[in-house]
């Protein structure tokens, strides 16, 4: 007994189409079929002009973030069957559309680069040339935040980031927290200065969409609040 599902896909080539079109594709449901594999099926057998991003097909590369049935998620790890008979597939919200489901990520990467996304180590490494020591407990503090795959599901679900194009946004701030919380990082003051600016943590209204949508279950808002707290105490103590 075969069951079919309708994929309703956002189509747009900005060079040609003034407005987006939604196109329907019937697809046969097979056991274990993911949204991504269904898209590949459409691309290879039905409509070769379809554009989308994917690579690892195992939820680690962060390419395939899309807006599926009204929520941001990774197409590759999402089973098609539970999504219902008609599945709406759109690009990540509020980023410029390059073509169909592929969005222009420039703004997203800009924010990432703004938070100095690298370990800042002022002191030279140990004279032995060996590793910096880090206790098991200290390592645990960054457990959740190092899992970010930069898929932009969070950033494109945050209303503040939609409206305020300058706002650093949850992904960049989660990256910042990954370093702020790392016992080896010595960029503390510098990082908090960046966080304290008008486009920084204080534009976050604790909407929590980011945390809700993160496919890696990173408690992003928690990280942002931790940074706020540190900036706050820094200010109050006159350190900043």
């Amino acid at each position: 007994m075969s069951q079919t599902v309708t994929l309703r896909i956002y189509r747009r080539d900005p060079d040609l189409d003034a407005a987006p079109k939604y196109q329907n594709y019937q697809i046969e449901l097979t056991p274990g079929l993911t949204v991504l594999m269904a898209l590949y099926h459409v691309l290879e057998n039905v409509d070769k002009t379809l554009a989308f991003r994917a690579s690892c097909r195992s939820a680690v590369c962060g390419s395939c973030g899309m807006h599926i049935n009204g929520k941001n998620m990774l197409a590759c790890e999402t089973q098609l069957a539970p999504l219902g008979n008609e599945v709406l597939i759109e690009p990540l919200p509020h980023l410029p559309v390059l073509k169909d489901l592929a969005v222009d990520m420039t703004r997203f990467w800009d924010k990432y680069e703004k938070v100095r996304p690298y370990l800042i180590a002022l002191k030279a490494p140990p004279p032995s040339g060996k590793e910096r020591l880090q206790s098991v407990e200290d390592r645990k503090k960054i457990d959740e935040f190092i899992d970010c795959i930069l898929c932009a599901c969070c950033h494109t679900s945050c209303s503040t980031a939609w409206w305020d194009k300058e706002y650093l946004g949850p992904a960049a701030l989660a990256k910042m927290y990954r370093f702020v919380a790392d016992s080896r990082d010595e960029g503390g003051a510098e990082r908090l200065q960046i966080a304290a600016r008008e486009d920084g943590v204080f534009r976050c209204h604790t909407i929590f969409n980011c945390t809700e949508e993160c496919p890696k279950k990173i408690p992003i808002t928690f990280g942002i609040q931790e940074i706020k707290k540190r900036v706050l105490w820094g200010k109050l103590a006159g350190r900043m």
Partner: protein, 123 residues
């Protein structure tokens, strides 16, 4: 280049609804506040004008509206407490239950005020 358009993120995150409630109630109270100051301050103009205005506002419908305003203030105030809590670093990972609990708590003062106001609505 074109964007997809959303005003409200279509997901159903409770946190987002809390945000929208807070923002809309905040703006509503802000508008009310600015009017309220103007209206009440006409008291300096003497009894005549003021009582004239207040008589108008004594109609039951205004008392009902007043109750609505109270509800709005309670929602904003109690959720505001939630936000301040988060800003101090408490409860961020339990945002949903905390929201539900505070909203439940806000019902209590509302019910009491409503009971007090009830006789005035049906005069």
């Amino acid at each position: 280049m074109p964007l997809t358009k959303h005003t409200v993120y279509p997901g159903r995150g409770l946190g987002m609804w809390a945000f929208w409630l807070h923002r809309l109630t905040g703006l509503a109270i802000a508008v009310y506040l600015l009017m309220h100051i103007l209206v009440i301050s006409t008291v300096v103009g003497g009894a005549g004008n003021f009582n004239e205005a207040m008589k108008f506002l004594k109609a039951p419908i205004f008392i009902l509206l007043e109750m609505g305003l109270l509800a709005i203030i309670l929602i904003h105030g109690f959720n505001g407490a939630r936000i301040v809590l988060f800003d101090l670093g408490y409860g961020v990972k339990k945002q949903k239950p905390i929201f539900i609990a505070l909203m439940a708590l806000a019902i209590i003062p509302f019910v009491i005020a409503f009971a007090v106001a009830l006789p005035h609505i049906f005069v």
